[in-house]
Symmetry: C2
């Protein structure tokens, strides 16, 4: 089975609420390449609601955030023609997050994230994302991700 | 004890993951006026991390989102000189959410949100928020909130 971007993260990054495999309370997002897009699928829980029948906007922002920083790292490896997880490691944090909520997102069906890297330059990667539910784009996200400063890299 | 904005929400709104008192899995954000600012305090759990020692950015986005829509409703009541919770009810959804992450947010101390309404016109309210931890602004948010369309108002 194909490994996700996040499966290459070192142990110190595996606690993230959004995408850490070791965070049992978290969302455990998994992201993959699909040609030049990065994709992820999330199955919201029944308690991830804003009001009955609709997904909570903060969850959508959280999914876009983590999927984008994972995509930024994967894109940086790809640009250098390096394997994910090879040294030196690329890790990114979010400098800014923007979400436009276009339609209410129904709670129930899987949420599909589909992202494009629209800029990659120096330590900065820009990722634009569609959130798609039953073939409708219900939200659009834009994240500016920055390669993590050395003094913040966890051991 | 003073009631929070969210304590005036009708039952149908009390399930929200961000601010619903009846969502046992959720964040249960409580927002209050402090003169012309709206404020909230959140105590993150140990699992709300990005990596060890730092708060997860998606949580910050979620707090800003719900605190802002609550503030939008409270501001709409205030503009009409009406009591919170009086009829007809004001409820807002997020049209767009923007967060600038200025500094890493340490995990441990309480997170303080302090917001100003910078525009209120027709069905639209704009809210700008500082996220403050130990007297440092670590993130800034801007939410455009829109009064909920009638066809989406839950029973």
């Amino acid at each position: 089975m194909e490994k996700a971007f996040q499966d290459y993260y070192p142990e110190s990054y595996s606690h993230c609420y959004g995408c850490g495999a070791n965070n049992e309370h978290g969302l455990q997002i998994k992201s993959y390449w699909e040609d030049d897009n990065s994709v992820a699928v999330f199955h919201p829980k029944e308690y991830h609601l804003a009001f009955p029948g609709y997904v909570y906007g903060g969850l959508i922002a959280s999914l876009i955030d983590c999927h984008s920083t994972g995509t930024a790292a994967a894109a940086a490896y790809r640009q250098e023609n390096r394997e994910l997880g090879s040294s030196p490691e690329f890790r990114f944090v979010t400098a800014s997050l923007h979400v436009d909520y276009l339609l209410p997102t129904p709670l129930g069906p899987p949420l599909h994230l589909r992202s494009k890297v629209t800029e990659i330059k120096g330590r900065k990667v820009v990722i634009e994302t569609d959130l798609i539910v039953e073939d409708k784009v219900t939200a659009k996200g834009k994240v500016v991700a920055i390669q993590i400063p050395e003094n913040l890299v966890p051991d």
